[in-house]
C-alpha cells in the first residue's frame, strides 16, 4: 500500500465484511501537535481478545475455506504507523463492534502520504449502499479549526428508492467530498 487512504479502504472493507451497519471515520490533522490521527469505528460483529490478537499477526485471516492463509491488511498498516513514530490501536467487543485508532507523526520523513482520500470514500459509500457512513474531517492549526461532516444516512433518506449509483448521485457525493477535503486542506497531506 502506497498511502494511508488505501489502508483506510482496506479497513473499511474489514468493517463491511463484519456486517457493520454504520462506519464512522474521523480524520484529524493537528499541526501544532504534529499529529495525523485516523479513528475508524464500526458496529460490526467485533472480535474476542484472541481473534483481535491474531488479527495483528500476518499469518492470520478470518477468510476461511480457501487457500489463502495470510492476512496482511492490519499488520502492514500497523507496521507503517509504528515505524514512523506513530501508534496503532484496536479495541473490539464481540457483538458491539471495533474501534481502530491510528496516529502518524505528521513531520516524519518516512510517513506515508494521506493519498486520494476522496476516491477511497466515494467508492466505499457507493459500493456499500447497505452501510451508513459518517465522515468527519478536522484540521486544527493553533487557534484555527476547519471541519467537514458528511452523513450518508441523511442522503439516503432524502433519496428514497433512488440508488447511490444513479449518475447524478455519484456526482453529488464526489463533489461534496471534494469540497470537504479542500475546505479542510487535506488534499495534499
Amino acid at each position: 500500500m502506497q498511502d494511508i487512504s488505501l489502508h483506510l479502504l482496506d479497513i473499511i472493507e474489514n468493517s463491511a465484511r463484519a456486517e457493520a451497519k454504520k462506519i464512522k471515520i474521523r480524520i484529524i490533522l493537528n499541526t501544532s501537535d504534529n499529529l495525523l490521527r485516523l479513528i475508524i469505528e464500526d458496529d460490526g460483529c467485533g472480535m474476542d481478545a484472541e481473534t483481535l490478537d491474531r488479527a495483528q499477526n500476518p499469518f492470520y485471516t478470518s477468510k476461511e475455506n480457501r487457500e489463502k492463509k495470510v492476512g496482511l491488511g492490519i499488520p502492514l498498516f500497523k507496521q507503517n504507523a509504528e515505524q514512523t513514530n506513530g501508534s496503532f490501536n484496536i479495541t473490539s467487543e464481540p457483538g458491539f463492534g471495533t474501534v481502530l485508532t491510528v496516529d502518524f507523526a505528521l513531520d516524519h520523513i518516512d510517513r506515508m502520504p494521506l493519498g486520494n482520500l476522496k476516491d477511497t470514500l466515494l467508492g466505499s459509500i457507493v459500493g456499500h449502499p447497505e452501510v451508513d457512513f459518517y465522515i468527519c474531517l478536522r484540521n486544527k492549526d493553533r487557534g484555527r479549526e476547519q471541519s467537514f461532516h458528511f452523513d450518508t444516512a441523511a442522503i439516503k433518506e432524502e433519496l428514497g428508492d433512488i440508488p447511490l449509483t444513479y449518475p447524478d448521485v455519484i456526482e453529488y457525493i464526489d463533489q461534496s467530498l471534494t469540497e470537504g477535503i479542500q475546505n479542510t486542506n487535506m488534499e495534499d497531506v
Binding site: M1, L6, L9, D10, E13, A16, R17, K63, R66, E67, K68, G71, L72, G73, N116, D119, T120, L122, G123, S124, V126, G127, H128, P129, A154, I155, E158, L159, G160, D161, I162, P163, T165, Y166, P167, D168, V169, I170, E171, Y172, D174, Q175, S176, E179
Partner: protein
C-alpha cells in the same frame, strides 16, 4: 456548497425517469476490494466504473464492492452480472480496460473476451 436541496432535485429527476423506463437494474458490477486487490489498483478501477456511469448517464447499472475471492494473482477482479444472473469475471483490470468493458459489454452487450478470466452463474 452542495446541499440536501440539490438532492431533492436529483430525486425528482430520477423519479420522472423511472416512471418512463421502470426501476430495473440491468447490470450489476462487483469490484473485488480485498487487500491484494487494493494493492493492485482496485480503487482506481472502482473509480473508473463510477466515472463512466456518471459520464454516460447509465441509470440501470449498479456497482458494488466486495472482499477478495481467491483469484489474487489476477487482481483487480471485476464481476459483471446480467439480468439472467450470468456472470463474467474480468481480471487484471485497469481504468483503461474498464472503459472498454463499459462500452463493449455494458452498453453494447459484447463480452470483452481478452480480459475474461472466468464465466458462469
Amino acid at each position: 456548497m452542495k446541499t440536501l436541496t440539490d438532492l431533492k432535485k436529483i430525486r425528482e429527476k430520477a423519479q420522472e425517469e423511472m416512471k418512463l423506463r421502470g426501476n430495473n437494474v440491468r447490470i450489476k458490477v462487483v469490484v473485488g476490494m480485498g487487500t491484494s486487490g487494493i494493492a493492485m489498483g482496485a480503487r482506481e478501477v472502482m473509480k473508473a466504473f463510477l466515472e463512466e456511469i456518471a459520464n454516460r448517464n447509465l441509470t440501470d447499472v449498479l456497482v458494488t464492492q466486495t472482499g477478495e475471492k481467491g483469484l489474487s494473482s489476477m487482481e483487480p477482479i471485476v464481476d459483471v452480472i446480467d439480468e439472467a444472473n450470468q456472470k463474467v469475471t474480468y481480471g487484471n483490470m485497469t481504468p483503461d480496460k474498464v472503459k472498454k468493458v463499459v462500452v463493449e459489454h455494458i452498453v453494447n452487450g459484447r463480452i470483452v473476451s481478452d480480459y475474461v478470466v472466468a464465466t458462469g452463474n
